[in-house]
């Protein structure tokens, strides 16, 4: 079988789910004839027609809200944010209406909101955001963020089938940079389970999305240069979070580095640290440390973006510090 990019994997997942279930349909800006700003939905219009691949006005609240209404009526809408930075424009309706629908009104709201996230692409402050942390304290939402093509496909399929609203983050840096052969058949990856991206015994890196790859790079370098055996846990599901997998790796290595691309303060690393503290405090031989972006809006110039975002050498340096602690 041919290798498939992360982007193509998402498209395949959407395609298969739309084939399988006529209640699945897509909405978003420029997703039809144009195939989406990144071409994720390319070809869907031709196959499924304009009723199931709907170009919307520039109205993130409008079409996310419409998705909720359609979902109440038995449809399974998938909304694309042209860039995930515009998810903020649907923040209120997502956190207030969608997230609470089942709880307060027993209204099912099976829907997916997906879109390209993240930096490392010279996109500047409004095309590079990592907004996942803003949704973490909203019960009723699920949040997933795959880092491999295989997970991208398997999790978009799970997201579409989930009976609640799933925010599906895609890292645009990975769209065309990674590829792999995908499992055959109806490949579904469950929401809520982390993935052990690399086994190790001296130190654990807990991470997700693009920094999984940076962490793996760092792990190799640490193995090569320091003889350190570094485990890398790819969370991939942020809400719910896989406490079991987190606890397992902490108990195994007793030293934890959390790496994410979002800014340090208020990022998801805080929650992970709290859970480790609560669930495996006694196993810690060193403080849980964070490698994350500096607390500034993400600037545009390569020199600035590179400084602000966490890089592989940063992870190496932090891991060495932690190993020597």
């Amino acid at each position: 079988m041919a290798e498939v990019t992360y982007l193509e994997a998402i498209r395949q997942g959407l395609y298969e789910e739309m084939e399988r279930d006529p209640s699945v349909f897509c909405m978003g800006e420029d997703i039809g004839a144009y195939g989406g700003a990144f071409k994720v939905t390319d070809g869907l219009l031709e196959r499924f027609g304009a009723d199931r691949v709907i170009d919307t006005p520039i109205s993130e609240t409008g079409f996310v809200g419409a998705a909720a209404g359609a979902a109440h009526m038995g449809m399974r809408p998938v909304c694309e944010m042209q860039f995930i930075d515009f998810l903020s424009c649907a923040y209120s309706i997502l956190t207030n209406y969608v997230a609470t629908a089942r709880y307060r009104a027993f209204l099912p709201c099976p829907m997916v909101v997906r879109g390209p996230s993240g930096g490392y692409v010279r996109g500047g402050p409004f095309h590079s955001q990592n907004p996942e942390a803003a949704f973490l304290h909203t019960p009723g939402l699920k949040i997933v963020y795959p880092s491999t093509a295989s997970d991208a496909k398997g999790m978009i399929k799970s997201a579409v089938r989930d009976d609640d609203c799933v925010l599906f983050f895609e890292h645009k840096y990975l769209y065309r940079r990674i590829k792999e052969e995908l499992p055959e058949g109806d490949h579904v990856v469950p929401i809520g389970k982390a993935r052990l991206a690399r086994e190790g015994k001296d130190l654990s890196i807990i991470t997700y999305a693009a920094t999984v790859w940076k962490s793996l790079e760092a792990a190799e370098q640490l193995e090569r240069e320091d003889g350190l055996s570094v485990e890398v846990l790819d969370l991939r599901s942020l809400l719910p979070m896989d406490d079991e997998a987190i606890v397992a790796t902490v108990k195994k290595t007793s030293r934890v580095l959390i790496v994410h691309e979002d800014t340090a303060t208020g990022g998801i690393a805080g929650e992970i640290t709290a859970r480790i503290n609560e669930l495996a405090f006694e196993w810690l031989d060193a403080p849980v440390r964070r490698v994350a972006a500096h607390d500034v809006p993400l600037p545009y110039a390569p020199q600035l973006e590179d400084f602000v975002l966490p890089q592989t050498p940063d992870i190496v340096r932090a891991a060495r510090w932690l190993a020597a602690y």
């Binding site: 349909f25 009723d51 199931r52 709907i54 919307t56 006005p57 109205s59 993130e60 609240t61 409008g62 079409f63 996310v64 809200g65 419409a66 998705a67 909720a68 209404g69 359609a70 979902a71 109440h72 009526m73 038995g74 449809m75 809408p77 209120s92 309706i93 207030n96 209406y97 609470t100 089942r102 709880y103 307060r104 009104a105 027993f106 209204l107 099912p108 019960p139 009723g140 699920k142 989930d162 009976d163 609640d164 719910p240 397992a248 902490v250 108990k251 195994k252 290595t253 007793s254 609560e278 669930l279 006694e282 196993w283 031989d285």
Partner: protein, 367 residues
Amino acid sequence: MAVTSALASDPAARPGLSRDQLLDLYYWMRLTRSLEERLVNLYRQTKVVGGLFRSLGQEACAVGSAYALRREDVLSPLIRNLGSMLVKGATPLEVLKQYMAKGDSPTRGRELNIHFGDVVDRNFVGQISHLGDMVPVMAGVTLSFKLRQEPRVGLVYVGDGATSTGAFHEGINFAAVQRCPLVVVVENNRYAYSTPIAKQCAAERLADKAAGYGIPGVRADGNDVVAAYQVTRDAVARARRGEGVTLVELLTYRRKGHAEHDNQSYVVAGEIDRWARENDPLDRYVQRLTGSDGIATAELQAIDTRVLAEIDEATDIAERSAPPEPRDCLTGVYADPPAAPALWYREGVQSAVDRHERPASWGTHDG
């Protein structure tokens, strides 16, 4: 598309309603008013949890518009739409239990007052507090009708104040472009909380917003239940014919405060009295029924009696209902998992605490 204007309150116009239907409208308006009066009593007895929101003077608006829908059509009410919900099948018992936050109320005590719905049978969607949000939601409800080619229609209410929200704008525009079978009823009751319409919008006619969305905008006397019915019926028919969205502005007046605690000090002296005296929707309708429609006063009084009996009975049952079981609060955030665990520090949650206790291998590690 032109904005058509119809202050269609000509009482001589054929309403297209049978005698029974005319009496139906009276029943729903009376039920709305009397049920709210009962709620005021319960509120004063502190049996209502939280605030009480009235629609006094707006009953015609709510009842007349909702009466234009079929059972399979979906309605999205707002806080002044008790009457619409009753027409659509909500019961006084449900409403009373909601206001008293009972365990067997429609939301099991999770949401307040008339924030509840039923999309399985009677087809109305529970609102949330955030104004405007129901417009995109109903755009989506009706989009699904269009996609599945079901001959169903949706109706969503917004207040004059809610027309200022971005959600209203995005939702109605989306529905207009998609030609969803949706009727948007703006209940212009001249105030949003304390804010008069002039501080809300510089347009004199909210129906004029329609032109900007390329849809027809019509206006009617919202205190004339038949006019409210007619204008909505026409918009509903248009939607059902696949001709898309209509904006209906119903002119009315909020005679009570935003909620019971609001003393309306911001209202010009005499304004409320004038509306009560000259433009009460029930008084006007009674006059019409007993006048040109030739209905006997006694027949209306019989309805009043029936309404009170129904409310009495519902009140008795509602008051006897139990409050919710505390632990029910943990269920149903997600389909899966079906319930959240109680937190570790909570009495009777020993197991969770245990899981976190210091391990037997204190100071060493089993990994």
